[in-house]
């Protein structure tokens, strides 16, 4: 893999140099302990029974035969354990808000009745070994009364649709009202009146699972009234707080341990029902309980990105100025609202008249929730598809159309810095946009047609609060305590590098204590691209605090230590802080087979100062690969007659293999806007946002046919081009 191109800043002492992960040896030798590697004395195993029906009322559950099986220690159901899983369904999808969780009307339990999708949890078994636990699941007799079901969000809003919740299928907002999420700027009707031409189009995007390697699991053990959970969580502080709330405990009564994990991508935010089920079983039987989800459990019992329908209307003047943008969207949330159901992308435009209405809707598909940039890639695909079509329709280069219409700083809304134009123009040049795009889409002769597409974005890089503690002893050894975990980006290494830089010592002199709520202070969590900025900034401040102490008192001697701490509440002084990116893609489409191959991929990002170029580059590449998968391959197909999922898992999902992955050239334009740790912004989510749009636009440019539904599979493509 080639190193990223870097434009802008010179490296600092530690920051900005390609740095191997400080835990690389543990990882490759197998010494790193993942949750399933932990074994505690007396530990037993748990498994979950899941609904085979998309919607059914449980009339009775008979667990006697399961309990009678030798080796079975306990069987729990909603009758024994009516525990509310607070972050499993939140009004408005406001997942980090306690008062709204308390007020949420549609309460999700760890076991639900009625069950509302195939894969909804019904019961759990603990047994002395895994085989017995699995055998016991088959002995649980559940009598179901099957209920009518609905899979598609628009159908779910029909008057006569089966009701998944008593009030109907519209998800309640954070005030428990059933209104669409509406964002209105200017006067959209006036904007359309001003337009010379009006374009309309409808797009659909499929459900994509996070597909991280490690399915959810949890190991719970109690000492008195204190619970310890080993669990792959993307945010140990949130997980502790959520778990304590759900179990009626104080935060200090819960310890979360999560260091190494097999990826997350938003699948592991907060706490999960697995945590609560393991904790409940362990409490009841008085032994450590290891609950492991299978791949199928993970696919159908956790969540993925919400499928959407997006209807756009855009008004344009003959000179290419966009005067009005309107979108009505439907997001299929499954039967529980774990997140907003957002569809973003319109906000990248300066157009003064915009109206967006999004209907988050309950369906009897599996639950939707966090996935790397939860609201963005599908929305950008929709917006950029119609904008790309408009540009070609009006004979304008899509890059010029973007430069003409994109959001820029204004008097009222200023940015800490603004690089959108630079990432676009740099990308266009590096990619050789003019040579690769077809001015006349679909104009290549023969069945193998090439074309190029692009998309652009800005994404939040806001500041926020985390804590850090750094200690120095008389030997000059520094120990950093941060509540981070590593879902892949290498947070442990990043935090160590920031500390070393701020302290002015080599990285080798810093030990990082992480991933354990009993040993580390609050950290915001590995979600929302926040760890580097927020916890990283706390690390800088803790180091500054320690340096001041050293300056005042000298280095400690003997057994003494000095400890610096910080819980900063930073602000951007009223400025908007964003990261920026543009992606350019060239594809070749085999018009007779419907096969799309990505030939060239150029990603240009401004993510502030890059802490570790190696891992930052891999974040962009990994995210782009996921985005290509969303564009071309992944979906979760359901049988419309019986509501059964047909394509869970890696084989059916057709996720990209290494052989499918193109070279992805990454360029970082580096800046220091004076905010965040040494000017660092975000990189974790931003890389996925642009891939579906850029790939879809490249397919349109190659074929001359706009694909209005993701993923762009061969059956859809051949249907369109033969129509």
């Amino acid at each position: 893999m080639t190193q990223p191109t870097r434009i802008g800043l010179e490296p600092l002492e530690t920051i900005g140099h390609d740095t191997a992960r400080i835990d690389a040896v543990e990882r490759v030798t197998g010494a790193a302990q993942y949750t399933r590697d932990f074994k505690l004395p007396g530990m037993v195993y748990a498994r979950v029974l899941r609904s085979p029906h998309p919607h059914a009322r449980i009339l009775s559950i008979d667990v006697s035969a399961a309990l009678a099986l030798p080796g079975v220690l306990d069987v729990i159901t909603n009758d024994t354990s009516p525990i509310v899983w607070g972050s499993g369904c939140v009004s408005g999808g406001r997942q980090y808000n306690d008062p709204i969780k308390d007020a949420t009307i549609h309460r999700r339990h760890i076991f639900n009745n009625p069950v509302r999708c195939v894969g909804d949890s019904v019961a759990a078994v603990a047994a002395t070994d895994r085989n017995i636990a699995e055998a016991a699941l088959e002995l649980i007799e559940v009598e179901y009364e099957e209920l009518p079901f609905v899979l598609e969000p628009e159908a779910a809003l029909a008057e006569d649709a089966p009701r998944i919740w008593p009030e109907g299928n519209m998800c309640p907002d954070s005030r428990n009202e059933f209104e669409p999420m509406t964002s209105r700027i200017g006067d959209v009707e006036a904007g359309f009146a001003e337009a010379d031409r009006i374009f309309e189009q409808r797009y659909e995007t499929g459900f994509v699972h996070n597909a991280q390697m490690e399915p959810r699991c949890a190991l719970a053990t109690w000492e008195g009234d204190k619970l310890t959970l080993y669990t792959p969580s993307q945010g140990i502080s949130n997980c502790r707080h959520d778990t304590a709330r759900d179990l009626g405990l104080q935060d200090h009564q819960v310890r979360i341990v999560a260091q190494y994990m097999g990826g997350g991508f938003g699948n592991k935010n907060q706490n999960q029902d697995a945590d609560l089920i393991a904790a409940e079983l362990s409490r009841r039987i008085g032994r450590p309980v290891m609950l492991e989800y299978t791949r199928r459990d993970d696919w159908l019992g956790v969540h993925g990105r919400w499928p959407t329908v997006q209807e756009y209307r855009v008004g344009v003047k003959n000179d290419g100025a966009v005067t009005a943008m309107q979108m009505r969207g439907y997001s299929g949330m499954g039967p529980y609202r774990k997140n907003s159901g957002g569809i973003s992308g319109m906000d990248y435009y300066a157009c003064p008249n915009r109206l967006r209405e999004i209907y988050p809707v309950y369906t009897n598909r599996t639950t939707s929730g966090n996935f790397r940039a939860p609201s963005d890639p599908h929305g950008v695909y929709g917006v950029e598809s119609i904008m790309d079509d408009i540009a070609y329709e009006m004979g304008i280069d899509p890059v010029d159309f973007a430069l003409r219409n994109m959001r820029r700083p204004t008097e009222e809304a200023q940015f800490t810095n603004y690089s959108l134009e630079e990432v676009i123009t740099t990308g266009a040049e590096q990619f050789d946009w003019q040579a690769r795009r077809r001015v006349q889409p679909g104009s290549d002769e023969g069945p193998l047609k090439r074309g190029a597409g692009f998309s652009f974005m800005m994404f939040r890089a806001g500041l926020g609060t985390s804590s850090a503690v750094v200690r120095v002893d008389s030997q000059g050894r520094y120990t950093l305590y941060v509540g981070v975990t590593d879902i892949g980006p290498g947070a442990k290494t990043t935090m160590g590098m920031i500390a070393a830089e701020a302290l002015g010592v080599p990285l080798e002199q810093v030990e990082v204590v992480w991933g354990d709520t009993d040993r580390t202070p609050y950290s915001v969590g590995e979600s929302g691209s926040r760890t580097t900025i927020m916890t990283g900034y706390a690390v800088v401040q803790a180091a500054e605090n320690l340096k001041r102490q050293i300056a005042d008192r000298g280095m400690p001697s003997g057994g003494d230590v000095l400890i610096g701490t910080a819980t900063p509440v930073p602000s951007t002084d009223g400025l908007i802080r964003q990261c920026f990116a543009a992606h350019f893609v060239e594809v070749e489409v085999d018009m007779r087979m419907g096969t799309t191959r990505v030939l060239k991929y150029t990603a240009v990002h401004e993510s502030g100062r890059i802490i570790n170029p190696t891992t930052a580059r891999d974040q962009i590449r990994g995210a782009a690969i996921q985005g290509i998968g969303q564009a071309l391959h992944e979906d979760l197909l359901y049988d419309p007659r019986n509501g059964q999922p047909l394509s869970p898992g890696y084989y059916r999902g057709r996720h990209l293999t290494h052989q499918d992955i193109p070279d992805i050239d990454v360029t970082f334009i580096e800046t220091d806007d004076g905010y965040g740790p040494f000017g660092a912004k975000t990189a974790g989510e931003s890389g996925i946002i642009l891939a579906p749009a850029a790939v879809a636009n490249a397919v349109a440019n190659a074929t001359g046919t706009r694909m209005r539904s993701l993923p762009i599979t061969r059956d859809k493509l051949l249907r369109e081009v033969s129509a």
């Binding site: 049988d639 047909l646 059916r652 061969r714």
Partner: protein, 328 residues
């Protein structure tokens, strides 16, 4: 709770005797070559087997032997072995190409030739536990459901597609399959090994209850024979053919004297295009001839609601397969 037992067989004869004994006891045996798919199916509950006859402990039927009259391939040879075999690569290149296109290196290193050809369908209804024809039921859920990957030829009452890549090649080379059973061995031409669902809706081949595919004999192709396997997949590795074309052509100069064209991924059995074969015989390969062969290949197709895209794909795949062979 289902009691599962394992029997480590030490010979082919011992393996089929063990299977027969299990049948006699009212149990359901399954031969496990590499076990790459079978064991997962047993775990998932989509295969009812409760006696695993482990063939990895069998020493025979693993060799690939080339002689003057042909190549003998042990049913327990791995796909890696098959694709690496010098004689196979030289004389039956289509077979090596097909073997190389299967799954992943990890799968090919343990998966066997016999197992590849007797693997169960990958229909998402069958694999997700629907009580369909293939699991002893009386319905094919694809007919009115999601049938984008289902059969356009030979379907009914079940519309599965046969997943093997090497099977159509062996049909095209007119291989002979040696089957071993408790009552001895028998030989079946490759094309007669596979059965349509209208003959047997449950099973995909003629194997008896305790019978296994022990060996394959591929007669030496005539002089001037060329062959290829052309495969289209939804990604570059680790999936089955959306369509595969096994083409074996005997030439005299640029004229075809004899042709075999057999498809995978579009029918419940390896699907031989006899009309195309007859059309090609005696013709010079030109762009027009290949194109006509491609168009002809779908004349009997009966698509379902969501698999029409397989028609143009089939035409294109057949056409390209012929053109590539002519060029090579």
């Amino acid at each position: 709770m289902r009691a599962l037992s394992n029997h480590n067989a030490s010979s082919i004869a011992g393996a089929v005797q063990a299977a027969a004994r299990a049948r006699a006891e009212g149990r359901i045996p399954a031969f496990s070559g590499g076990g790459t798919d079978l064991l997962q199916q047993v775990k998932d509950g989509t295969d009812p087997a409760d006696v695993i006859i482990n063939l990895r402990t069998v020493d025979e039927a693993r060799e690939i032997e080339a002689g003057a009259s042909g190549i003998s391939i042990g049913g327990l040879a791995t796909l890696t072995r098959l694709m690496d075999d010098a004689a196979v690569r030289a004389r039956l290149p289509a077979l090596a190409q097909a073997a190389e296109s299967v799954g992943t290196p990890q799968i090919r290193n343990v998966a066997t030739v016999a197992g590849n050809m007797t693997q169960r369908p990958w229909c998402w209804y069958y694999r997700n536990g629907f009580h369909c024809f293939k699991s002893g039921g009386d319905e094919c859920f694809s007919v009115n459901g999601e049938n984008g990957q289902h059969a356009i030829f030979g379907g009914g009452p079940s519309f599965i597609v046969h997943p093997s890549d090497i099977a159509p090649v062996l049909v095209a080379f007119e291989a002979i399959f040696q089957l071993a059973g408790p009552d001895g061995e028998r030989e079946v031409p490759a094309a007669e090994f596979f059965v349509l669902p209208r003959v047997d809706p449950v099973k995909e081949n003629v194997l008896g209850d305790a019978e296994m595919l022990a060996r394959i004999l591929v007669p030496s192709p005539a002089e001037n024979t060329v062959s290829s396997y052309y495969k289209v997949m939804d990604r570059a590795a680790w999936t089955h053919a959306e369509i595969g074309v096994a083409t074996v052509i005997q030439r005299d100069g640029n004229a075809v004297t004899d042709a075999r064209v057999v498809l995978s991924g579009v029918a419940p059995i390896p699907w031989r295009l006899r009309a195309v074969e007859e059309f090609l015989a005696g013709r010079q390969i030109t762009t027009e001839v290949a194109q006509e062969a491609g168009e002809m290949s779908i004349s009997d197709a009966q698509p379902l609601a969501k698999n029409r895209h397989k028609l143009p794909m089939t035409s294109a795949a057949v056409e390209r397969s012929i053109m590539e062979l002519a060029a090579g």
